[in-house]
């Protein structure tokens, strides 16, 4: 990118180019300004109000945070939110890693089919997809009628944590597979052959050559899945029961049902901080090493 910009500048005389660049930069800011303004009005302002109310309602102070961290039920839900997100991330990784690998290994036609399978979940609206999981998981649902047909006793899936994890993982799986695939397709498979020819077992060649090279994709996928899972609302609300409530549901309940903006706000701030701390911690991990290397 930088070399191309320099090329284009060389073609114009240096003075004119300098002039133009300054003009460009001033103008460039104005091009971004509408988007920034929208962000301030629709994102900055709302989040500021949520934060403010968490301190100001019903009176100024830390009361809402003291309440949040002092109530065992809240801590249980907070812990459960993290646990469910971790499970979802793990399930996505276990399902997505081999899938993404196969996507890089098959021919172009088969690859198109596999990519379509990843994208199909996006074709139907998220709410409808959750309804589909209700149909699949409910006591008289598809999975249980199959189980019954085989002669086993039906399993309770809907309104359980297992059901929530299964549904959420399906919704989030594409966010795991796509970053994995984009990293894996840059890995030179001849490296594995080289390792094998030097006497490494397939398992060792995978663990010492392929796995480390694919880690940036693993980190990128895992962090995006985990963060999106933390804030999930619809799937747990429809598939879960009282024993699988997540933080988002509690926030919605505080604000819409109890009209307690202070407590809802405090929970919101906790969720927000958790999200951004995780993002900041994980961002350096998901950078591809060879890309940053070429910049140096």
């Amino acid at each position: 990118m930088a070399t191309r910009a320099i090329d284009s500048r060389n073609t114009v005389s240096a003075v004119a180019a300098d002039d133009r660049r300054r003009w460009f930069r001033g103008q460039a800011f104005w091009l971004v300004a509408p988007a920034l303004l929208l962000l301030v009005i629709c994102l900055g302002l709302p989040l500021a109000i949520v934060t403010l109310r968490s301190f100001s309602e019903p009176q100024w102070g830390w009361q809402n945070y003291a309440w949040f961290f002092g109530t065992p039920v809240n801590l249980t839900v907070l812990q459960r939110t993290f646990a469910i997100s971790a499970w979802v991330t793990l399930v996505c990784l276990i399902a997505g890693y081999p899938y993404a690998y196969v996507m890089t290994a098959v021919g172009p036609k088969m690859r198109l089919v596999l990519i379509l399978c990843v994208l199909v979940p996006f074709w139907v609206s998220g709410v409808v997809r959750t309804l589909a999981w209700v149909i699949l998981l409910q006591d008289s649902g598809v999975i249980n009628s199959v189980i019954r047909a085989v002669g086993l006793s039906p399993v309770k899936l809907i309104r359980t944590q297992t059901g929530v994890v299964i549904g959420m993982a399906q919704v989030l799986l594409p966010f795991m597979i796509l970053p994995l695939y984009s990293v894996m397709k840059t890995i030179d498979l001849r490296l594995m052959q080289a390792a094998r020819s030097l006497g490494a077992s397939p398992a060792r060649a995978f663990a010492q050559v392929y796995l480390p090279l694919s880690l940036p994709g693993v980190y990128a996928g895992a962090i995006i899945v985990f963060i999106l899972a933390l804030g999930f609302y619809i799937t747990p609300a429809l598939l879960g029961g009282p024993r699988s409530t997540m933080l988002s549901t509690l926030i919605q309940n505080q604000v819409l049902s109890l009209l307690n903006w202070g407590r809802g706000g405090a929970m919101g701030v906790v969720l927000l901080i958790a999200t951004f701390v995780l993002l900041a911690l994980a961002a350096p991990l998901s950078r591809q090493p060879h890309k940053t290397g070429s910049r140096r």
Binding site: S8, T11, F29, V32, L36, L39, C117, V124, L271, L272
Partner: protein, 261 residues
């Protein structure tokens, strides 16, 4: 790799693929149920839920509401997002890196927290349940997708073409209109599509700012699911699936035809 290992890996992928696709397919048989139930397997065959979707004012009004909001949102988001992508492209890389990260934050902010905040703002400004309110919030959520799509096509666009046009006497506007725009049009178009889908599909903010006067389709679907087992939802899901498949199929067809040329 040895043969049994490959077969096992293939089977595993098949299983994952089924898991990905099954929830999309399962709504289709449910939509023809002849009883008002979502129990599987459906009993008997009827078109009544499709009929209900098109004749029941609650459903048709929410569809119209969603389409209106999504169309206006897509237009606004595409203009704002495309401008921003151009601006970012012409900035120093350090500044643009920070701004880019800032501009895509709506994608990672937990939906309910954002919705609560927007609801608070809208209560004070009387935007709850208004078209303007929906469009404003949805545009903010959709702009990141446009920026990503347009930026991707600007990345591969050769800026020397603009310089070449300028050296041949084209003004900046002419160069933009006749050289740049046609070349990045696919990026803008996919941004437009993403923006439309983002708005059409958005539910969490919509749940908070909805009113009896303006309801979107996802909100109607959600309240229907929580109220009772109504197969109309399955009919809506099937219709959406067929529509999207047709649009994507047409897109693939046009794409492959252009590729041959």
């Amino acid at each position: 790799m040895k043969q049994p290992g490959r077969i096992l890996l293939g089977l595993y992928c098949l299983l994952v693929a089924v898991w990905l696709v099954a929830p999309t397919i399962v709504v289709v048989p449910m939509s023809f149920n002849d009883k008002k139930s979502l129990a599987f397997p459906p009993s008997g065959f009827s078109w009544q839920w499709y009929q209900n979707f098109f004749t029941n004012p609650e459903w048709s009004a929410s569809l119209v509401g969603s389409l209106k909001v999504a169309v206006v949102t897509a237009l606004f988001a595409t203009v704002i997002g495309t401008l921003a992508a151009f601006g970012l492209d012409r900035m120093k890389s350090r500044v643009s890196g920070v701004l880019r990260a800032l501009l895509i934050t709506p994608m990672v902010v937990p939906g309910v927290v954002l919705a609560v905040g927007i609801y608070a703002v809208y209560l004070d400004t009387r935007l709850v349940g208004t078209m303007a309110g929906f469009v404003l919030a949805h545009t903010m959520l959709a702009v990141p997708f446009v920026i990503i799509a347009v930026s991707a096509s600007l990345e591969v666009f050769d800026k020397r073409l603009e310089t070449a046009a300028a050296s041949l006497g084209a003004t900046r506007l002419t160069a933009f209109r006749t050289v740049t725009l046609p070349l990045i049009a696919p990026g803008i178009l996919s941004g437009l599509l993403f923006a439309f889908v983002t708005s059409f599909d958005e539910i969490i903010v919509a749940l908070f700012i909805t009113s009896p006067y303006l309801k979107t389709l996802p909100v109607q679907i959600f309240s229907s699911i929580t109220r009772d087992a109504d197969p109309t939802v399955a009919a809506v899901g099937t219709l959406l699936f067929i529509t999207t498949s047709l649009v994507i199929g047409a897109g693939l067809l046009i794409g492959s035809r252009q590729g041959k040329r």
